[in-house]
């Protein structure tokens, strides 16, 4: 397999005295649709801007497709980027946007772009300023994909779209992934947006990586345990408690382990992605200072 889609070591970015991203170390293999999840202000946009070279790191290193992203045309040609709110030149028409793509990208796929615009039912003479939010997002996605990149970076692509436009956008994205085998990193603050399309997850909280891993593996290794109240949470060494809540005589735990849970006191139920992500977000938020043992970062 080729170089990782995205690999960072100790990556940090500060704006003045405020650190938007600190000590971020992760490695995302190519060939995935990666969901980059986190609350607003977690550093998702900063990470994506670092990945496409719009920003330069204040600390650590970042490599995208094995190269340091740094304002280099050849490297930029391999990355398709869709900025938040899908910016477009409001006074240029749809056709002029495609023309721009053709002029500025050596590997431009005009056939794809033109067909895509027809499929979407655009009037190519329409100015981008008069497109709806959903149409503009589709136009921006078309521009990013027609570059024929190896990696697509999408920053909150559906955040401002209505449910129908959201569904259509993700539908288009899935078609592109299926047809062209492109790797995708897509950020969102809503897990629901990502659940349907992502097979890999990175959770960012307060500028730090709280969780990363293959979705299937994450789901298989997390369990909800319900049993009689137990305030002393000494668990077997191979199990780590991500979250615990106690109501009356009952304790509910979210536990991470790769091994079966043998203690008969617990009734074990599977978890969904939402549960896992929220548990890690809460844990990272609450325990940011006291790094809990459960905050092991998965690879």
């Amino acid at each position: 397999m080729s170089a990782p889609a995205l690999e960072t070591v100790g990556l940090g970015k500060s704006y003045g005295r405020r650190w938007a991203l600190t000590d971020c170390t992760l490695s995302i293999p190519a060939g995935h649709v990666v969901g980059l999840v986190g609350p607003n202000g977690a550093g998702k946009t900063t990470l994506l801007h670092l990945a496409v070279g719009l920003l330069r790191p204040s600390a650590g290193t970042i490599a995208v497709l094995g190269e340091t992203p740094h304002d280099d045309p050849a490297a930029l040609a391999r990355i398709g980027f869709l900025a938040q709110d899908s910016p477009a030149y409001s006074r240029l028409t749809v056709a002029q946007h495609l023309q721009m793509g053709a002029w500025l990208n050596p590997s431009w796929d005009a056939g794809f772009a033109n067909a895509r615009v027809v499929d979407l039912g655009f009037d190519v003479r329409q100015r981008a300023g008069s497109l709806s939010g959903g149409q503009r997002a589709q136009l921006a996605l078309t521009l990013a994909v027609a570059k024929r990149p190896e990696l697509l970076l999408l920053d909150e692509p559906v955040a401002s779209l209505d449910p129908l436009a959201r569904r259509e956008f993700l539908q288009t994205l899935m078609e592109v992934v299926a047809e062209h085998g492109v790797s995708v990193v897509m950020s969102s603050h809503l897990i629901a947006d990502l659940e349907r399309v992502c097979d890999y997850l990175v959770v960012l909280v307060s500028g730090q990586v709280a969780l990363t891993g293959d979705v299937e593996t994450l789901l298989a290794s997390h369990h909800r345990l319900v049993g009689p109240r137990r305030d002393d949470l000494s668990m077997p060494a191979n199990q780590s408690v991500i979250e615990a809540s106690h109501v009356g005589k009952q304790s509910t735990l979210l536990v991470r382990t790769d091994d079966p849970i043998l203690d008969p006191a617990w009734s074990v139920t599977p978890v969904n992605l939402d549960d896992v992500v929220l548990a890690y977000m809460r844990q990272a938020r609450d325990g940011a200072a006291a790094a809990a043992p459960g905050l092991a970062v998965a690879r």
Partner: protein
Amino acid sequence: MTRFAWLQARTQTLSIAGALAILAVAAAVTGIHLSHLYDNLVASCLASHNPCGAATDQFLSHDTFLQDAFTLLMRLAPGLLGIFWGAPLLTREFESGTFRLAWTQSVSRSRWLVTRLAMSGLVVVLIAGLLSLTVTWWYRSIDLAGTNRYDVFDARDIAPIGYTVFAFALGAFLGAVIRRTVPAMAATLVGFVAVRVAFIEWVRPHLLSPLHLTTSLLNADRFGFGSNNGSDVMMIARGAAPDNAWQLSSHLVTNTGRTLTPAANTAFLQQHCSAISFPPPAPRGGGRVLAKLPDANAFEACRAQAARLFHLSVTYQPAGRYWTFQWLETGLFVLLAVAALAGCYWWVTKRAS
């Protein structure tokens, strides 16, 4: 990238080119008419060796509206191009977020910036050049009839091109730094006006060392007596520089070459010109009072005596240096523009990330 830069500059370019074309037609029609008028009124008069003051005045009274309009346009155009073209060039990209679209195509940021600056800069220079050519051509017979070219220095020939290049570059630089259109426009206006004023006040007069000329008080341009803001009544005289020169100063000096002090000036009047009845000095803070026309004999006697003791020292830049000044001013503004463009380049490619 060149084609895309043109696509972005096209609408603006074509609309200004259209306005310029209309202006050029208007200038051509009225300009040809003006040169016929010049031939009929002024040139024919000059050929007849008669005094031509009246004929010249009559000629200059034509098209005064257009004269004012063209001069105003010529003085405003550089600043306007800087404010409305230079400043928004980059701020529009920042405000609409399209810089993230542009900078993530397969084009380096420096190439994007250089191409956009070069495309728009070239268009703006061309506009300024054509405008100045039109206006200078339109004015040629009026200027011939009696304009000191130093008086319209910044509204003719190549200096406006220098101003325009600088205004555009300053706008682009401030736009890159400030990133918001309206504040960047305001800053460009302030910066441009400040630099222009500083140039007129402190730089241009010192670009070349001026020539000096001493002339007798009998040849003075103006001679009289007056008092200003509470001072005693003094002799006031002003010498004339050669025709079409740029006069910088005129001083009364003694025969030993020293500038005449106010005290010595007053003392001279008391000693030698007592025959003249001067009005009381102007009150302090009350502006100036000029002496009423005194008795002509006493006046001439006083003047003759003054001419024996004092003369006028005039500093000026001769008419023949006009083009040197044009080139110097243009060159210096182009240099400032280059500095601003370098700052813009540095800020966008190195700093803004």
